[in-house]
């Protein structure tokens, strides 16, 4: 297994730093999946995560000037690593004015993702900051735990197919509803709907507001589009879209 990658463009570095910062706010530990053309940050929906799951996909060519990897085998040319995204985020934040950033898989006292930052200095010789981020290598037999989530049949809820969405909270003393109107329903959502479906009927799911907050508060990337899919009483699914990045986040409904 080998992995080495290099970023020289400050804009790309900045963007990658913001993505990793977003991920670090959504998950304490997650899986980094490396394949020849893409990187993924994955949080699978285990009980320990409170049922939330996350799938973030990046095209490596949009960030890295050099990207070489060799997976576990020729047939399975991928690498799955478990890491704490907070470490990666902190490491990248030290690279603000870097000349280059190199990331590679190394074996120090344990398998590590080593981030080596070359910084400008007043002398002829650059400064070098090295971060060794301990990672866990996930064996191939566990890779099936990290499949891309299949989008369930969704109904649009407390949102409807007419572009209305209501966010509601309810306590013993008070009930507050925020109405969003004139939102767009993506055209593919309307394609498969049966004819007699009432477009104005609301579909709803109750979710833990803390998880919603965590998701919204963590956003660092300027997204072009946000999609929200709701399955009646089962799950709320957010998709954030930006040029080179898509981030999907699933929050299960409370029973």
């Amino acid at each position: 297994m080998r992995f080495r990658a290099k970023i020289v463009d400050l804009g790309c570095l900045n963007h990658f730093t913001r993505v990793s910062s977003t991920i670090s706010k959504l998950a304490k530990t997650c899986t980094l999946r490396l394949s020849p053309h893409k990187l993924y940050f994955i949080l699978s929906d285990k009980v320990a995560n409170g049922g939330v799951s996350m799938w973030c996909e990046l095209a490596q060519g949009n960030f890295f000037d050099e990207f070489q990897m060799e997976g576990v085998s020729a047939d399975y040319n991928e690498i799955y690593l478990e890491l704490m995204p907070e470490n990666l985020s902190r490491a990248l934040k030290t690279a603000q004015n870097a000349k280059t950033v190199k990331i590679k898989l190394t074996n120090k006292h344990c398998p590590c993702l080593t981030v080596a930052v070359e910084l400008p200095s007043l002398s002829s010789s650059s400064r070098i900051v090295t971060h060794d981020i301990p990672v866990g290598v996930i064996p191939r037999k566990l890779w099936t735990d990290f499949r891309e989530p299949v989008l369930p049949e969704f109904d649009v809820v407390e949102a409807n197919l007419k572009g209305d969405m209501n966010l509601k909270i309810q306590t013993d003393l008070v009930c507050i509803t925020t109405h969003f109107k004139h939102l767009a329903n993506p055209s593919w959502a309307l394609e498969d709907i049966s004819q007699d479906r009432d477009l104005e009927a609301m579909v709803e799911a109750r979710i833990d507001i803390k998880k919603l907050l965590q998701f919204l508060a963590g956003q660092q990337v300027n997204t072009t589009k946000v999609l929200c899919n709701i399955v009646q009483n089962r799950i709320v699914h957010f998709i954030l879209l930006h040029d080179e990045v898509s981030l999907q986040y699933f929050i299960p409904a409370l029973s």
Partner: protein, 391 residues
Amino acid sequence: MRSRDEGEQRRPAVFSRDTRRGVDYCHVALSTAKIVLGKAAHSLSRIGDELYLEPLEDGLSLRTVNTSRSAFACFLFAPLFFQHYQAARPPQRQPPRCKVLMKSFLAVFRSLAALEKTVERCCITLSPESNRLVVQLHCKHGVTKTYNLSFQECESLQAIFDPAECPHLLRAQARVLVEAVSPFSPALSEVTLGVSRGRRVVFRSYLEDDTDAARAMMTEMSLSEDEFQQLQAQEGASITFCLKEFRGLLSFAESANLSLNIHFDVPGRPAIFTIEDSLLDGHFVLATLAEPQAGQEPGQGPHSTTHQDDFANDDIDSYMIAMETTVGEGVAEGPRTPSPVSEEEEAESNVIPGTPPLKKFRSLFFGSVLAPMEPPSEPNPVLAEDSEGEG
């Protein structure tokens, strides 16, 4: 640090004569320098909970030590630093030494921004008769804030150290050092500083033994020798010390735009960090880890494939400065210097056996230096009996 003798020869002019009679006090006033004093207070507060003040002929000395006695910090402000400086009245009388709660002193200077904008003058008066340290901030619009801090008379706080005894020296602009430690998390306790192959200066995060090494990220910053004004150390020399305490002096040095000297020796012996300019000097003495970095094999790092980072691995006993425990009976002859004090001089030990030293750091020994031929004028409270060191 200047000796008293030198101070005598250089006694500055007193800017105003005070007409008060019969009140024994020390008085300093400053205007533009108040920020620097405030910053020094902030810097010292990173180390200890008690501030020892000693008005000397050389200037006003502010000192502190941490509870585990593994860090000592001292600033000396020359008389010319102040608009008005008077150590004692009458001058022949021993000026009082006192200590106040750091928290209380810092409260006066807490907001440096406010200090700059609204405070016009700051006056500090030590009144032994009323056991009060009075700090007056004369502010705009006729407002005067008076802080009465109660103090305790005490023995002088001294740390035994001598930069000249350290074979290694590293000197750099404070800014370079600030940038050098910026990649490290503010939560990081200890850092290892060393010279690696190729004469590069390396700072590396120190992971304590009980840290879950499997989870902790290791960070290293490597700089070229060229970035330092002076590097007098062989490859392989290294020490591990408390980064948080070091940052206290570093932020002060950076704000004053000074260079910082790091004098060090083998692991286990204290490292001495100094700054100076014409009006002040500062010394931070920090204990260093006696054993080489555990849990980290030497030779790791970006240069490990081509160089071996052969940090010092001397099997040397921890450095302990022996202190005689005899009460001063005029045992030393001649004038005493506040510091450095050589090992041959005997002094009464004033070691407070605080909490056990932080992990493997050894305590520095401290002693009081009694002026010759002068028994204590009043019974000083016994702070603690001296106990044998860890040996």
